[in-house]
Symmetry: C2
Subunit: 212 residues, 2 copies
Amino acid sequence: MEEDKISIAVVKRLPRYYRYLGDLLDNGITRISSGELSKKMHITASQIRQDLNKFGRFGQRGYGYDVELLYEEIKRILGLDRQYNMVIIGAGNLGQALANYGNFSRRGFNFIGIFDKDPNKIGMEVGNMRVQDVGELDAFLNKNSVDIAVLSIPKTNASQITSILVKNGIRGIWNYSHIDLRTPDDVVVENVHLTDSVMTLSYKLSELENSK
Amino acid sequence: MEEDKISIAVVKRLPRYYRYLGDLLDNGITRISSGELSKKMHITASQIRQDLNKFGRFGQRGYGYDVELLYEEIKRILGLDRQYNMVIIGAGNLGQALANYGNFSRRGFNFIGIFDKDPNKIGMEVGNMRVQDVGELDAFLNKNSVDIAVLSIPKTNASQITSILVKNGIRGIWNYSHIDLRTPDDVVVENVHLTDSVMTLSYKLSELENSK
């Protein structure tokens, strides 16, 4: 295995492979060639071979990929062979949407707390949790083992909350606040900047117009 | 201008430049060197020069970048010099979160309709709109000029809805459904796959663990 040599571009494609391999397993398909996988995923067979051969031994000439082995290997590489405790900071629509989305717990991402500063939200039930006062966050993190914090709050409060998270040993931040967080090297951040995403879409639309 | 030669990697960085340049303008800063911008954005000055020199004439040796010119140029390239009409399909928590997020309309992305199939949601008020029966979608698209549809529905219904959208001439789909949509070449899709994103985060966390 050479995990430390996987480029971020390949990493970004791994969840998609994982999703397709999971569907194959659900349909009882135990092996598949890069050509067949290529047709399903609409990426070239050579790209698939290039990506997956990084994980060694799975593709055998004339046999194809062992779906379950590959699925389990990607699962391990993605860190999905363990459970994660998560808290949500910000119980607005977005925080609620995430809390209620069942797919996360199915993958091992378990929400154990949700926080807000709005007195109207505190005490409300969201996805089997009660919204707690964000003033209690520090104490909560101190008492509970939390791996990942979801930031679904306006950017004005994001830095201050990040300090509390980092101080309490949170190692992963899933950031929906529209700001680039500054964190120490041993804290990883994954950004979901929705405004950036819609701008990428409008770029693609403009490009489409221009090509006519 | 050489827009057609801009790589997707650069395009993905443009919204971030746009955001920082907007902040500079808000603070009355009218020019900036690649070195100063580098410090603010935490990317290398040479990367900045490589990215922005694509747009020609903006960086002048000893002067730096004209912030407003560059901001306006990136705005134009991103297609933000026009307005977009959008509809949301799926009025669950996520659809509601998007409908209520003020930053979109500020950028020219205007929601003009929201649809759901759930009788309990139809008629509900969300972000100054009334949720309409998804059965009315076809007729609505026929009557109104819509540029972008947001898919915030489970993947089971995504393909069928996409057919209705494509049939009615929708050119842009902002897809939150956890499925890879098949669309004609003249319809562009921007995916926001939240489960893929959290898996990227767990990958980074595992890598962090392994590096200890």
